[in-house]
Each structure stands twice: as structure tokens, then as C-alpha cells.
Amino acid sequence: MYSGVSVRALALATAGIFAAAGCGGSNGPVGQNPAPPDKQVLRVNVDTEPATLDPTQQSWAYEGAVGRNVFEALTRPKADLSDVEGAAASSWTVSGDGLTWTFKIRSGEKFSDGTPVTASDFVYGYKRLLDPTVAAAYEYNFEMIAGASGYARVDAKSASAVRSFLNGLGLSAPDPQTFVIKLDHPAPYFKWVTSLWVAVPLKKADVDAAGADFGAVTADSAAKIHGNGPFVISELVPKDHITLSPSKQYRTQAILQKVILYYISDANVEFAKFQNGELDMTRGVPNPDVPTVLNDPKLSKQLLRGPTLLNYWINFNTTRAPLNNGDLRLALAKSLDRESYIKNVRKGVGTSATYFIPNGERGYEQSDTQKYDCNQAKQLLAKAKTAGVTDTQLAGLHYMYPASSARKASSEFFQQQWKQCLGLNIIVDAVEGQTYANKLKTSVHDFWIAGVSGWQADYPDGQNWMDLFVTGSGNNYAVWSNKQYDQLVQKADNAAKQTDRDTAYSQAQKLLEQEAPVMFLFQDEKFLLIASKVRGYHRSAIDDDWIGDVATATTMYIAA
């Protein structure tokens, strides 16, 4: 899910040591003394208004906050993130060659208007996701479906070309309860892909009735969307809020009668609203207020901290001298004291990280390769200089970051660290957000050092992380290319046995840390406030916002 890398994620710092990785925060047992129904109102902040209510086009956490409540995918991750469990599907089987996945739709599964959910609604939803005229951002995650790899070559302007592409996809519904997906190649992580919030059943009648306006965030369009999830949109005031109410058709009825989603993008405002009793949950705490919260007797009791699968790093442009020198990159990586960064700049929120796959997910390995060691960094710099890196080149290094006051503090800290250890004077450039995004793109890559970038797991499988740094990946801002890494990742992505996958990912990860196209910085932590009257909230490391793959509003309630 696109998240973490927003300016906000940095501004909203979070702290600490992950004691029990993999199992997140939780506040109170379920079912104890709930308040009467008229008091069952939960007010949360999702940061930004969703751009669309069409789940197939949603790509941000604040959009998934609606989509995940209104729709339900085939599967969902188990609370301990070890595997997926059935959601809209009651069971499934995978053929011996790993290519045919057969899902049985849960009997009694219904849309909010009472019509039963059939396999063809899933076929329709999956096809919309891969429809070039829809141009859904998460299409890429589904290109292992038979025929889908031709997506890029379809002429979106030709209706017949689009139709024949969609009809040729390996999606079928032999009977109303059976949804069959055929893949082009074995992909053991596909089970996770079927749990994504974009892969849901859609009512063709809803889409046909709205046409191009399907999913528009308007007061009247909300009632025209029927999902199979636990909630329906009961009220929508554009740009102000969305109210969700339980769907009468869902198999378990939520205790909450209203969930109001507000769009507050300023962390200080959010914090003030929580203190003033206008919000029941925050997304974080403004960095300067972290000590206040920890020391306040009332606020500290309402604090919820937990690990999150979100890692941050700094990118090196590996195609530009002198950063094409691996020793120089590693020298820069090893000359930054991350512990001091977490303590002083981030006020103790997050953990320093020199690893790629985050703590709390299968494949996490502590690594010392990029660990802070100033003496080794100096030796590496000397080695780089003997290999031809000149002082003039070093004097021309710039660090680029998207302008914001929170990021300014971080950037100046990095600058000072590099100067202190290596004696390098790296010039710091603050760049307007969209310009930064453009310069970072792999097709432009006009920078030396840029940061801070991050990645939040879409699903807890190594593939979601390791594919980032494969040659040609759009998120490989370092434009790093390593044949050995590419081969290892491809092998691991497709291998049938999990142990084979683990070994190959581990090798690839070590290579990545050693080659240092990026320097790992820290793993984020969720550091949020939740009113003491709110109970039954269980979050896992994969969840970003108040609701996620595991955390669900159906278990939450307001205590009397």
C-alpha cells in the first residue's frame, strides 16, 4: 500500500523497541459491557479524502479505510501473519503445478442490497482491475494471472482490443460458487495477492449504472455502491467526512453503529482534536509532542505502540559518478549513527535499521553490513579514493529531500553526520514535493543522494519487498542493476517450496546490503492515541491505519 513515504509519515514520528514482533497492539477484551447502540460511534481520522470509492482504483491507506470496510476480498491475513484465511471464500485449492487456484465462495455471502455474491462478480471485479481503460494502480500485482502479462501491449483506445484482452484472461466461474484463477507461472505468494483490498467482487449493475462516474466521491453516488463487506456508506459529505454503518447482510453484525472518517491532514490539528474529545483515535502523534504524551498521565494511558512493516532508507544514484562506486556508498551508509538519529531527531519513535525485510515479517534478518562504524567507513572511503573517486567529485555531492520542516531536521542531521565521520561537505537541497518525485523517477533520476524513501508491505511476503530492487523496477530509485540479485529474486518468487524461497531471498538480501544502492535507516513504529472507551481494537504489524488487513472495525466497540 502506498503509505509511509508521505511527508506526514515522517512528521508523525513513532518510537521504540519491538519486543513482540509480528503481534501488534490490542486494547481490551471483546464484549465487555458495551455502551448502548446510540453511543456506538467511532470517530477516526484517515488523513485525506479518498479519491474514489471504486475499490479497484484505490491505492492509498486512506482509501483502503473505506474499501476494506465496504468490500471483502477472497482471503485475509491471519492475525499472526503466518498465512491467509478465508474471507469471502470459504476454502480454496491449488493444483499440483501451482497454476490453477480454485476458490469456493462462502455460502450466504451477500451484497449490501441482499443479492448473493457469485463467482462471476469476482470475475467481473478482477477484470475491472486489469481493464486498461480503468488504469488501476494495483494492476501490476495481478500480472501473473494467465494472459495478464499482455496488459502493457493492449491498445486502450481500441474497445475490441480491450475486450479480447479481458476475455482472454485466466478468470472463470464454472458455477456460481466456484471462482477459478489460472496463472501464467507458479506464484506461491498469490494467496496474499487475493487478500488485497482491490481484489473484490463488484456488482456489474452498479458499474453499468454509474458508467465513468462509478466510485465518484459524491453525496449521491455512495448509496449506489453495494459491497459485500461489514459496513455500508450511510452518509458522505464531500471533503468533510464519510460515515459507515453496519451492513445488514454481513455474516457478523458490527457493534459499532457509526464509524465517522474525517480528513485531517495536519498532525497538530489531529492531536488537538483528540485532546478536545473530537476524535477517538489518531494516526500518530506530532514528533515534538512525543515526550508530552509519554509524560502525561492521561495521554500515556491512551497510547498504543506497535511494530509496523514500514522501512525507510536513503537512495544513492548508482549510475552517476562517484556514487557508482560501491565502497563509497557503503562508506556513506556506515558513517551515519542511526541510534542517535532515532533518539535525537525522532524522539525515540522507530528502531534503527540496517536490514531490508522488516522485523515482524518472515525473512527478517539482522545485519551488520551497513551498521554504523566510523573507522570502517573511513577505510572504505580511502579504498574508494584509490579506485578513482576524486575530492572534486565528493565536493559536488548533493542530498535532495522534499521540502518540509520535519524533513529539514532529518536532512541536516544526515549532513552533519557525514561531515563528522567522513569530513564530506554534502550540499542539502530542499525540493518541492512533486518536483522531488519527478527527479527521483527512474526515467529521470536527476539526483545524487535522495531521501527519505520507504516501503510499507502490501502483504507479508518477501516477494513484495525483494522485487523493488530488481533491474528496471520503477521503485528502484537507485537504478541499481545486479544480475545475481535478479536471478536470486526470480528463483525465490517462483519456487514452490517455502524453504527454497527463504534461502534465495536471504542471499539476495545480503547482496543488497553489501552493494548498498540504498542505505537502510529505520523501521517505523505505530505510535497512536486511542480513547480509553474504545475497546476491541487488535492491530497487526501489517496494518497501517486504524483499520487494515487484520485490524477490523467489526470487533471494535465503545465501552459504557
Binding site: 486498461p132 481503460t133 488501476a136 480528513y263 478536545n276 512533486q434 518536483t435 519527478n438 520507504g454
Partner: protein
């Protein structure tokens, strides 16, 4: 201003006999070329700015998705063609779809947020005019007195404190502080605006103060200096010499004349207030147009940028027209023709 430049406007009568109605029609027609150039300039600047609507700092869109998005919104066509298509749409009051919000029309998005911004701006304006002018007049009449220094000091303080400081200060002390102090009996929400077009909601208190501080101070200072100028005029001395009562001198002679520059300033002030403030709207969670405009610029939502700019241009043109018409009633020396 030269009026003969555009031949298609030549049929409008000119000269001393121009009536108010013709003046207004002429000015309204003039808005067409003005708007055209506003669109041209915005269109060019917007496309010159680095990055595009599909660039993002986080997870990148794949090239094939970007390609399909460009086709979906017509951004694959050459720029001149995109421009002509846009102009053709505007002529038919079709401002296109927001690039960042699939399926949503720009006109709808803009009209949704406009009532909030307008309510806040109009309430602020209605309060600041009497307050600003009152403070200015009192200060001028009691020049160098305590009242003068107090009014001037207040105005200077209000003008030099950034609005985000005022806003945060109000939230912390007025909303949070009072709530805590009174144990909840004094409860002021930190923001929001439940009903647009309703000037009587407690939610408006803090944003109105925050938004109005600077313009009130500006109007107060302007009124003060203008009133001081007028007080020194010969006709005021004559009025005093005639033995007129102070109230008559001030109301009939001083105030009427000293308000002319103030009225000139009120036009842009009103336009400034009703086009929204990003900071005030963000601080007080108001779903207004100032916030949406800044967001669409930073997100390079081309159609939203153009649509909002057109609305602002029309607003400013109309406000200026109203000010020009008001002159006629305030200053008999002003004629509507050249």
C-alpha cells in the same frame, strides 16, 4: 485603459452618456478576453512546472498504467490540442474531470467546497469592515492618545503575527484550555463547519478571528491615515469654523471623504477572503476551496487547477466591478466613462 483594442466590443456606446447598465455590460464582456489570458497563462505555467499528475513520492505507478491514465484523460495528445479541447469545453461550461479523483467533475468539486470558504470569508468581511473602520476613525480622531496607541498597537500586533500562530494559539488556549479549565462546560470544537451558509455557528469563532486579523489591521491603519489626511483639509476646517456639531463634521465631511481609499482596498480584501486560505482551512478542518486549490497544485491536478483559477479570476473581476460602481455613489467626481 484603452477601449478600442478589441473590435468586437466597438458596438458598445462610449463617452459621457454611458449609463451604469452599459458600463456593467461592457465590463462583463471584457471578462472574456481576461479569462482567456488567465487560462493561457495558467495552462502554460502549469505544464512548465516539473512533474505531472502521475508522479508520486511513494510507490510508483508502472509505465503501462501511466500510459493508460494519459489516454483516459487525453493527456497523450499534443499540448496545443489539449488546450483547444479545454477551451472548447469551457465555452460549454464543461471544466473536465479531476485527474486525481476518478469520475468527479471539476465544477462539482469546486462548487462543493466553495460554500464553506464563502461563508467563512463573508462572515469575516462583515465583521472586519465596521471593526477596522471604527478602530481607524477612533485612532485618527484621538491622534497620539492612549486610544490611538492602543488601536495602532493592536493592529500592528495582528498584522505581524502569522495566521498559523494565531490559529494554533486559539486552539490551544481557547478550545483546549477553556475546556480543561471549565471541565467541559465551556466547549468549543477545534474546527469544522457543519452547515455552510450559516453565519451563526460556534465553529466559526476561531477561524474568523484567525482569518480576519490581518485584513482588519490593514483596514484600520488605512482608515486612520486617510482620516488624518482628511482632517487637515480646508473644508473640514471650514466646517468646524461654521460651528457644526462634531458628529456632523465627522459623519458628513470627514468620514465620507476618507472612505474612498478604504473602499478601494475593501474590494481586493473581500476577494482575498472568499478565495480561501490554505492555512486557516487546514488548521480548522474546513473543507474549503483554499485547501483544495493548494492540494491540486501540489498534486498537479491540471483540470482542478484551471477550474479553480477561472473561478478566482471571475470573482476578482466581479468584485472590482462592484467597487468601481460603488465609487459613483461615494464620490460624485467619479464618472463611469473614460
Amino acid at each position: 485603459m484603452r477601449r478600442g483594442a478589441l473590435p468586437f466590443l466597438a458596438w458598445i456606446p462610449r463617452g459621457r452618456g454611458t449609463t451604469l447598465a452599459v458600463f456593467i455590460i461592457r465590463r462583463l464582456l471584457w471578462m472574456i478576453p481576461v479569462l482567456f489570458f488567465v487560462i493561457v497563462i495558467t495552462f502554460v505555467l502549469m505544464h512548465l512546472a516539473p512533474g505531472g499528475p502521475w508522479d508520486r513520492e511513494g510507490k510508483q505507478l508502472t509505465p503501462q498504467v501511466i500510459n493508460n491514465l494519459n489516454i483516459k484523460y487525453g493527456l497523450d495528445k499534443p499540448l496545443p490540442q489539449q488546450f483547444l479541447t479545454y477551451i472548447w469545453g469551457v465555452v460549454h461550461f464543461d471544466f473536465g474531470d479531476s485527474l486525481r479523483s476518478p469520475g468527479q467533475h471539476v465544477s462539482q468539486r469546486v462548487l462543493e467546497s466553495w460554500p464553506y470558504t464563502f461563508t467563512l470569508g463573508a462572515v469575516t468581511f462583515l465583521l472586519l469592515v465596521p471593526l477596522g473602520i471604527g478602530l481607524g476613525v477612533v485612532a485618527a480622531l484621538r491622534q497620539n492618545s492612549v486610544a490611538d496607541y492602543a488601536a495602532l498597537g493592536l493592529a500592528t500586533a495582528a498584522a505581524s503575527t502569522p495566521n498559523f500562530v494565531i490559529g494554533i494559539f486559539l486552539i490551544i488556549f481557547l478550545a483546549l484550555g477553556m475546556n480543561r479549565l471549565t471541565g467541559g462546560t465551556f466547549y468549543l470544537p477545534t474546527g469544522g463547519m457543519p452547515q455552510p451558509f450559516n453565519p451563526f455557528q460556534v465553529e466559526l469563532i476561531m477561524p474568523v478571528i484567525t482569518l480576519g486579523a490581518l485584513p482588519t489591521a490593514y483596514i484600520a491603519r488605512l482608515t486612520r491615515s486617510s482620516t488624518l489626511d482628511t482632517l487637515r483639509q480646508d473644508f473640514v476646517r471650514t466646517a468646524w469654523a461654521k460651528g457644526l456639531k462634531a458628529r456632523l463634521v465627522v459623519m458628513r465631511h470627514v468620514l465620507k471623504n476618507s472612505l474612498i481609499p478604504v473602499v478601494t482596498a475593501l474590494g481586493p480584501t473581500f476577494a482575498f477572503l472568499v478565495t480561501g486560505s490554505f492555512i486557516v482551512e487546514t488548521l480548522f478542518s474546513i473543507p474549503g476551496i483554499g485547501r483544495s486549490f493548494v492540494t491540486s497544485i501540489s498534486g498537479r491536478d491540471y483540470t482542478m487547477i484551471l477550474g479553480t483559477t477561472i473561478l478566482f479570476a471571475v470573482l476578482i473581476a466581479v468584485v472590482n466591478l462592484i467597487v468601481d460602481v460603488l465609487y459613483v455613489f461615494i464620490d460624485p467626481r467619479v464618472r463611469l466613462s473614460d
